[in-house]
């Protein structure tokens, strides 16, 4: 099968590659670009481990072809940290609130939460739960992920984070 040339901006850098039309975006990111933060958990668009941000949208990159991302601007987990290399508010929140265990869902979860907070900087718990419902986690039971996102929301908004009472 003839290969197609694609270019895109990934985490701020111009990248290019030759892909078969059927090459899934997740494989292009993981194999060609060697950005292995985004993971493959189900391949059937249920788990969200492969989530990346494309032109301001959270996308399951196992359900999109690399050719379709030609010309797009993509952010993966590797591009989420602050410019100076320190952890972003979300990354810090996940660590402080114990929002991860095995770490496999974490990149997709953080990239998704990043877009959620861009669209809704002060979400309620219900909005957070609804907003991350495309990402499965098998370890945490989500409760501390919710807290992690609340922590980041508070930090971004410059208010003091108070853990919800048990």
């Amino acid at each position: 099968m003839a290969k197609t040339h694609v270019t895109m901006t990934v985490n701020g850098a111009e990248v290019e590659g030759l892909v078969e039309p059927r090459t899934l975006l997740i494989h292009f990111i993981r194999e060609n670009l060697q950005l292995t933060g985004a993971h493959i958990g189900c391949e059937t668009t249920h788990c969200g481990a492969c989530t990346v941000d494309i032109d301001g949208m959270s996308v399951k990159s196992c359900t999109m072809f690399a050719v379709q991302a030609n010309g797009s601007a993509i952010t993966t987990i590797e591009g989420i940290a602050n410019a100076d290399g320190t952890l972003s508010a979300l990354q810090e929140g996940f660590r402080q609130m114990h929002g991860l265990q095995c770490g496999f869902c974490t990149p997709g979860m953080i990239v998704r939460a990043h877009r959620l907070l861009q669209e809704n900087p002060s979400p309620t718990e219900e909005e957070i739960r609804f907003g991350i419902a495309g990402n499965l986690c098998r370890c945490t039971g989500y409760q501390n992920i919710v807290k992690a996102i609340q922590y980041a929301s508070a930090k971004i908004n410059g208010v003091e984070f108070r853990e919800a009472a048990e």
């Binding site: 039309p21 969200g48 359900t63 999109m64 072809f65 998704r112 609804f130 419902a133 495309g134």
Partner: protein
């Protein structure tokens, strides 16, 4: 789970897309959001030789008002529907339904056109489009035609779409202001298809139902318009007996499949409950 090989086409006009579809025939499939087609391709249950990606066609996007109707480009995503002030104002039921479809990521990519056109009985929008008396604009090699949503669905994955035709827009006539609406969907979890779902649009006058339309999702191999059920509530105040009667009339046309969501009997039973609950909620919302 890797798709078979295919040729990729990304036309920039409807005419080009239609020309490709016509010339490539059965071996070509249009690609919208891809969230139904790509998983099927990964399982090799779909093996098109050509994919015609519609994302490059600007005219398939957008929501605009045309006289007494709202016209929604086929490639408008669920996320865009949710963000649209026009949709919120005229058809809050569209928003209520879109929020019950899949999950946030899928709503960013999934399109209204893709949802209504592939004939999957599990999709939510087809029954709603029938309830809203919507029609589909189909453009093909022989020109343009409009088909009523209620005439479009023929069987699971079988529709009135002719070879070479492309769905370009969905047209929904504006409804009376003050209408009541509800989409009641029972599902096992976020991301699931409906175990049973019912869409209701109605108007009330002096405490009585003046007009009513009821659609049913995933309760047959096509979406259903429950006309007898809707007729049963006209002129009533939706008392318990009437609700029960409407539910029974709706159940008469249901023929769901037994699957992991439950046996046929259960799915019909909850189908009836969804009808009753949607009617009640819609009436409570009507002015």
């Amino acid at each position: 789970m890797i798709p078979g090989a295919f040729n990729y086409h990304c036309p920039s006009t409807v005419a080009d897309a239609v020309a490709l579809l016509s010339s490539l025939g059965d071996e070509a499939r249009p690609l919208a959001g891809g969230h139904s087609l790509i998983p099927m391709m990964k399982l090799r249950l779909a093996t098109p030789e050509h994919l015609i990606d519609l994302h490059g066609i600007a005219s398939l996007k957008g929501i605009r008002q045309e006289a007494d109707r709202l016209v929604i480009g086929a490639m408008t995503t669920q996320h865009e529907l949710l963000a649209s002030p026009e949709v919120s104002a005229a058809f809050p039921i569209l928003k209520e339904t879109a929020l019950l479809i899949a999950d946030p990521q899928v709503r960013y990519r999934g399109t209204l056109g893709g949802n209504v056109v592939n004939g999957d009985p599990g999709n939510d929008m087809p029954a709603l489009m029938m309830t809203l008396h919507a029609s589909y604009r189909l453009e093909g090699p022989d020109g343009v035609r409009d088909v009523a949503a209620s005439d479009f669905y023929q069987g699971a994955y079988f529709t009135a779409l002719e070879p070479g035709e492309l769905l370009t827009a969905i047209t929904i006539p504006f409804t009376a202001s003050g209408h009541g609406y509800a989409y009641e969907k029972l599902k096992r979890k976020v991301g699931d298809y409906a175990t049973a779902a019912a869409a209701v649009m109605l108007t009330m006058a002096n405490g009585k139902v003046e007009s009513c339309s009821i659609g049913l999702t995933n309760l047959s191999d096509t979406p259903l318009l429950a006309e007898a059920a809707a007729d049963a509530v006209i002129g009533t105040g939706l008392d318990d007996d009437t609700l029960k009667k409407a539910s029974e009339r709706a159940q008469e046309i249901m023929s769901p499949a037994a699957d992991a969501r439950g046996p046929v009997e259960y799915r019909k039973h909850v189908g009836g409950i969804m009808v009753m609950r949607a009617l009640k909620r819609a009436a409570a919302r009507a002015a």
